[in-house]
């Protein structure tokens, strides 16, 4: 009987916390690496179309984004559900594209200006009308290098 008592009476051992900093640092590093900062908050909802033949856009600093899609739920009361253009953080119209391209160009160094790529992030349910209009505006602003942003999917052969 006495033997059993002795066994049960031991206090619970302290958990070794010496490696807790390691774990915390690991998490820290992980999040530091994997998070990409979202520079703009989205006012339009964009679900990119799928494509198999996509190429990567390198040099993020040379890329400007034009978002085209239906306004997010909280803005639908004001702007309706028809596709709209978002430049930077705000709803914009076609006429603003030229100024937008000019300002994006000015932000780049002289050497990089010719390399400016415009990534069109269009929602897949958008009609082509507005996208054609945007393309025409880009041509007028002579921002000719464009990319149709799309999600990469694997080929199904």
């Amino acid at each position: 009987m006495a033997i059993f008592k002795k066994k049960g009476g031991g206090s619970t051992p302290q958990l070794n916390t010496a490696s807790l900093p390691d774990i915390v640092f690991m998490l820290l590093f992980f999040f530091m690496v994997s998070t990409t900062m979202r520079e703009t908050d989205m006012k339009v909802t964009v679900k990119l179309p799928e494509a198999t033949e996509v190429v990567k856009l390198d040099k993020k600093s040379l890329v400007s984004y034009i978002y085209i899609g239906s306004p997010a739920r909280q803005y639908q009361a004001i702007f309706g559900t028809d596709s709209r253009i978002q430049l930077n953080d705000n709803f914009r119209t076609l006429v603003d594209i030229r100024d937008f391209i000019t300002s994006e160009r000015d932000a780049l160094s002289e050497f990089d200006r010719a390399m400016l790529t415009v990534s069109i992030k269009g929602d897949e349910n958008t009609r082509m009308g507005i996208i054609t209009d945007v393309k025409q505006e880009l041509r007028k602003a002579s921002a000719l290098k464009i990319s149709y942003a799309s999600r990469r999917v694997e080929k199904d052969n």
Binding site: S19, A51, K56, R139
Partner: protein
């Protein structure tokens, strides 16, 4: 005295932590922006308009998408999954048919003199065409070029096009130049 339970050896915990860290470092890909790259044609000057229309009919591969997302390829209705094969046939013109693009002998590094077909794919859409359909068609057309380039790269260099050094890629680009023209917008078939 009570026998205390032995402490768990925590020495290797750090190693495990680092192992996990490295695992995540390797497997996470930051979301890179991907898309179909295109060059828009420059805005035509006023007096330039005439010259552009001189492209021969046999050199143009017209793809029309109407507002209900149906395709008309070279005057024939077509499904999207057929488009790639048709486009490939147009680009290569393997049997030198008279209704497919004419060829021009060009000197190209690695290949010598090659007959390069002068075809242009002209993609036209309606304002009511959905962006999804438009991208689907664009994707098929790019796929046609990529497949041809891959085939050629395999035959010539034994590697896929993407794995070739830059100068060899350039040579292949000259054999199969990507000519997709996104036509001037036309207002046909009424507005949406």
């Amino acid at each position: 005295m009570a026998r205390s339970t032995p402490e768990i050896n925590g020495g290797s915990l750090a190693d495990i932590a680092f192992l996990l860290l490295i695992f995540f470092l390797v497997t996470t890909t930051m979301n890179v922006d991907t898309g179909l790259a295109r060059m828009l044609p420059p805005m035509p000057e006023e007096n330039q308009k005439k010259a552009e229309q001189d492209v021969k009919q046999r050199n143009i591969f017209t793809v029309l998408i109407n507002k209900s997302d149906r395709l008309l390829v070279e005057g024939m209705p077509m499904e999207v999954n057929m488009l790639k094969e048709k486009a490939k046939e147009f680009i290569v013109n393997p049997n030198d048919r008279a209704d497919l693009p004419e060829k021009k002998a060009t000197e190209i590094e690695y290949f010598g003199t090659v007959k390069v077909a002068q075809g242009v794919i002209s993609l036209q859409n309606d304002r009511g065409t959905s962006y999804r359909m438009y991208m689907l068609v664009q994707n098929e057309l790019v796929a046609a070029y990529n497949e041809l380039r891959d085939e050629l790269a395999k035959n010539k260099f034994g590697k896929l096009y993407n794995n070739l050094p830059e100068n060899e890629q350039k040579a292949i680009q000259k054999v199969y130049p990507q000519r997709i023209s996104e036509a001037e917008p036309k207002t046909v078939g009424g507005k949406k």
